[in-house]
Symmetry: D2
C-alpha cells in the first residue's frame, strides 16, 4: 500500500458518516477512488429506495478522495461545490461510486463521480456528479 | 394542520434516512419547508465537522417537500438534480435547512434551499442548494 | 463614482462579448451588480427566443462583477463554475441580470444571479444562477 | 445524411447565436454532436480570452443537439439546467465542444459536454458541462 493510499484509508476510517451508511473504501488509484455501500434500511427515502443523500454522500467522498490522491501528503480537501444528476432510483444489492480527477490543480481540483446500483451482478448508472474540491 | 401538511409529515416519517440523521420536520408552509438536524457523532467527515452528505440530505429533502406543497394531493416528487455550494464547515449545535419553491410547474419545479449552522442561538449560512424536482 | 465602480466599468468595457450582445452595465453596488441586454436578432436559439448562452453570459458577468466589488483593487476574478436553471424562454423587450455575493472570501467567492425578461414594464423571472468565483 | 441529422442541421442554422459566434456544426452521431467555434474578437472577456458565455453557448448547444438525436422526429428540446466547470482560459485557434447523452428518457435527458481549446493541432480540456434537457 502506498503512503497516499494509507493516508486515504486512515481518513476514510475517521468519516463516521461512511460507517453509519455501511460504506467501504474500494480501490484507491491515482486520481480514481471507489466506494461501495449497501442500501441500508436506515438510508431510505419515502418510496423505499436509497435516499439521494446516500448516493450523494458516497459520490462526494469518492470524488474528494480521488482529488486527495493527486495532492501532497500534508494536504486535506474540502468540497467547494458538487452537482448531482439523479437518473434512476437507488435500488438493488449495493451502490458503487467511482470518483475521478478531471483536472488536478495546486488549490482547485475539478472532480467527477458516477454511482451505479448493482443487482445480481449487473449494474445500472443511477447518478453522475461534477464538482470542485479545494486543498486546505 | 392542512391536508398538504399532513401528507408531507407522513412522507417525512417514511424517510428512514431522516431518522438516521436525527432530522425533524419543522414548519411546512406554501412553497417553504424547514428541516432541522443535530450533528450526530455518526454523521461526521474526517475533521469532525458534519459530512457534506448530512447538509445535502436535509437541504435536498427540505427542497423536495417545499415542491410537494405546491403540487396536487396525489403527486410525489423526485430530485432530478441538485447543486450545493458549501461555504463553511457544518459545526455547531444543530443545522437548519429551509427549502423553497422558486418556480412551480406542473411537471418540473425549480427549488432552492439554504442551510444554516446554529450555535448558542446565532446562525451561520453554511450551504446553498439549487435544483430541480419532478412530479411523478 | 467610487474607485471600485470605475474599475468595474473599465473592465466591463473590455469584455467584447458584452458589446456583441448589446449588454450594458447598470447599477454597481457593494456585492451587487446589474447588467441589462436586449434580445438581439443575432442572439437567438432555434425557436426565436434568446439563446441560453445570452442569459448565461449576462448572469455570469453580473455575478463576477458583484464578486469583484468585494475584493481588493488589484484583484481580478475568474469563474470556477456556474450553474443555471432556465425557467422560461428569454422573450420580451430586454433582459435584466442581477448578480450578488452570497459569501465573500479572500480567494473563493460564492455568488448568485437572477435574470428577468422585461416586457412593457412587467418582468418575469427566467433564470437563476449559482456559482463560484476565484480571485486571480 | 439521416433525417435526424438533417433536422439538427436545419435547427442549428436557425440558432442565430451560433452564427454570431462563428460556430459550426461538426459531426452528428447517435447521442453525440460536435460544434466548433473560433474565438472571435467580439466574444472575449476582459483579459482577452474567450468569454465564459462563448464556451457555455457551444457546450450547451452541443449537449442539446446530442439529446435531440435520441428523440422522435417531432420533438424539440429545451435546457432545463446546465452546470459548467471552467478549467482553463479559452485561448487558442478554436474551441471544440462535444455534447453527449448520458441517459436518454422520453421527457428528461441527462447530458454532458466537454470543451477543448485547440492550438496548433494540440488540444486542452478547458470546460466540462453536465445538465438536463427536456423534450417539448
Amino acid at each position: 500500500m502506498t503512503d497516499a493510499e494509507a493516508r486515504i484509508r486512515a481518513s476514510f476510517a475517521r468519516q463516521s458518516m461512511m460507517q453509519t451508511l455501511g460504506a467501504e473504501l474500494g480501490e484507491v488509484g491515482e486520481g480514481r477512488v471507489t466506494i461501495t455501500a449497501p442500501i441500508l434500511p436506515g438510508a431510505l427515502q419515502q418510496h423505499g429506495a436509497g435516499h439521494a443523500g446516500l448516493t450523494f454522500s458516497i459520490g462526494d467522498s469518492a470524488a474528494g478522495y480521488a482529488a486527495l490522491t493527486t495532492l501532497p501528503q500534508s494536504a486535506e480537501v474540502m468540497t467547494v461545490e458538487m452537482k448531482i444528476n439523479l437518473m434512476s432510483p437507488a435500488t438493488g444489492d449495493r451502490l458503487v461510486a467511482e470518483g475521478r480527477v478531471i483536472r488536478a490543480g495546486r488549490r482547485i481540483t475539478v472532480v467527477a463521480a458516477d454511482v451505479w446500483a448493482e443487482t445480481d451482478g449487473t449494474r445500472k448508472h443511477i447518478a453522475m456528479l461534477q464538482g470542485t474540491m479545494i486543498a486546505v
